[in-house]
Amino acid sequence: MPIEVVIFIEHIINGLTLGAFYALITLGLSLIFGVARLVNFAHGDIFMVGGYTLFLLLNLSGITLPYPLIVVLVVVVTALVGLLIERVVIHPILNRSWRVQAVATLGISIVLQNLALILFTSDPKQTPTIYSRQIIEIMDIRISVQRLIILVAVIFIFLALQWFVKHTQTGKAMRAVSQNREMCQIVGIDVPRIAMITFAISSGLAGLAAALMSPLFSVMPTMGSLLTLKALAAVILGGLGQVNGAFFAAFLLGLVEALFSGYVSYAYRDVVSFGLFVLILFVRPQGLFGRRVGL
């Protein structure tokens, strides 16, 4: 294969893994927005909590747990953290305007980040796994097994989520909650419970992202900040509350970034991704996959 083609394929693969990463973060964020109309600025920080959980579990003195088990544990821990946050902070303000709720999540974000800073200092923590160093080489294209795991996991999670929202009672209730909370009460949907479940799933997804991604990067208090914003951009691009749309938008961002930084410039890649985001909004205010109902 000519080198240009190899490089191009590699850029595409980079874009896909980056997109997969964004997608994992975005799915949860989009879910929360979809159900609770909540812009969760703390989502990236829950991802960060997942990173530290992974770090702690990998470094448990004396015991070495198998990586899959650790992943599950990280997901469980972050889901619980999400639950806690929902109970303590979000639940009491569930009926307030989205602005107030968004600011509250910013508060959570500040608290979590500084808590991490106090507990772990700003030293980045490394969380390598056996897979992050295993590299597959096919026709000059090198990619670590960890990235392949992520790609597969994301697709699996996406399909599972689809099925969950479309076909389970709880999934349908989630959609209902997003549209009319009072009506939910009237038909017997337990809104607080659904909100809790949503938060748990969403946080668990952030935890999953952390458990899968951190081995490639490193764990530090601010690791989630810019990520939240990118994921929010994807959520909006996809059409607010459209989980599928957000998923594809995340991949779109990943690909655009990878190709732009691969062929043009790295420094301006975020300019391009956020610029694209803003531009698309001007052309399609409701997002790529958004629909409008009523007046």
Binding site: L216, M223, Y266
Partner: protein, 380 residues
Amino acid sequence: QDAEPIKIGLYAPMTGPIAFLGEGFQYGATLAIEDLGGEIEGHPLELVVVDNKCNPTDAVNAVRQLIEIEQVHVILGGGCSSATVAAQPIIAEGGVPAVSATSTSPSIYEGMGVGGNIWQFRVNPDDLIMAYAFAERIAEGTERIALVAENTDFGRGALASYIPLLQEHGVEIVSEDYFDLGTADYRSALTRIRASRPDALLVVMTERDGSTFMRQLREVGIDATIYSRGTLTSPLFLEYTADDPTISEGVLEFSFWAAGLDPEHDQRFLERFGTPNSPHRGMSYYTTRYVIAEAIRNAILNHGEATPETIRQELKALSIDTPIGHIEFDDHNQAYPFGTIQTIEDGQPVFVGTIELRPIPRGDEAEAEATEVADEEAGS
């Protein structure tokens, strides 16, 4: 023991994305004070830390607080050049000596000492000084080089100094990339760099981002020689890559601090804080321990008391041999410690040697401009 305490003020980013810098400074200074027994000539030492959040507004506030409220005798830090630069007028106006330990921005040089601000000193060499010493070495045996740096004053400043010199030595620069702090994914850029087939890379990154970068560099499979004008061989870096110490195998690091300079100290650092030494941590230590403390001691001995003014005089007059080399400030209040070369062999840092750093010719134009500004400041 009832002698008046002497206060050393530290202003650095303590929160936000580069809190690690401020933390490192605090570690270094704390250990230095402990090594001094917490006192100088009977005067207890006190470290006062304020957060400059790495931005001008908070820096001004922080320095004013140190000078006017805390009434410190001497100031350490800056950390970010945006903070250091903004603090300059306040330091000049407040009349308290300030010592920079790691800021490598050449622009600060112009304003110091005869440049107008007699209160600002700098222990570490700046990027131009180092580029002069190192560029030639890199050029030996390198035809095509890819440049990679953090998108900060540190990274930008270093490359800005190296680029013209490398070009002068006939090295072709195949790419130039700047990465924002905390970047997670470098693969796309690395893929492109690999495609451009450089025979060397110059990497200007601190440990944090550097470790992630190097991991992905290995993943992509770039096998060019790696020069580092950052910190890719420090014990801290090695800790970040402890799972695979070969990640930075063979990296050639040019700096003004190296782990091998003072192995016993590195060990003590690790024991004290549970985290290894690194350039900014070490530089903070040496600056406090040898430069600041020494000036304070001399001030007490020679003038009877340590005041900002006497400390400044003693800084100016300082001439001392330290583990990082001989420290003496020139007319721009700039010192010239060792240039160091270090590499990693079998996952262990190996101290290769030192290079003498010396004053370099600076653009007359820049010089004149600086004096102009300084005049303006002095005149007001």
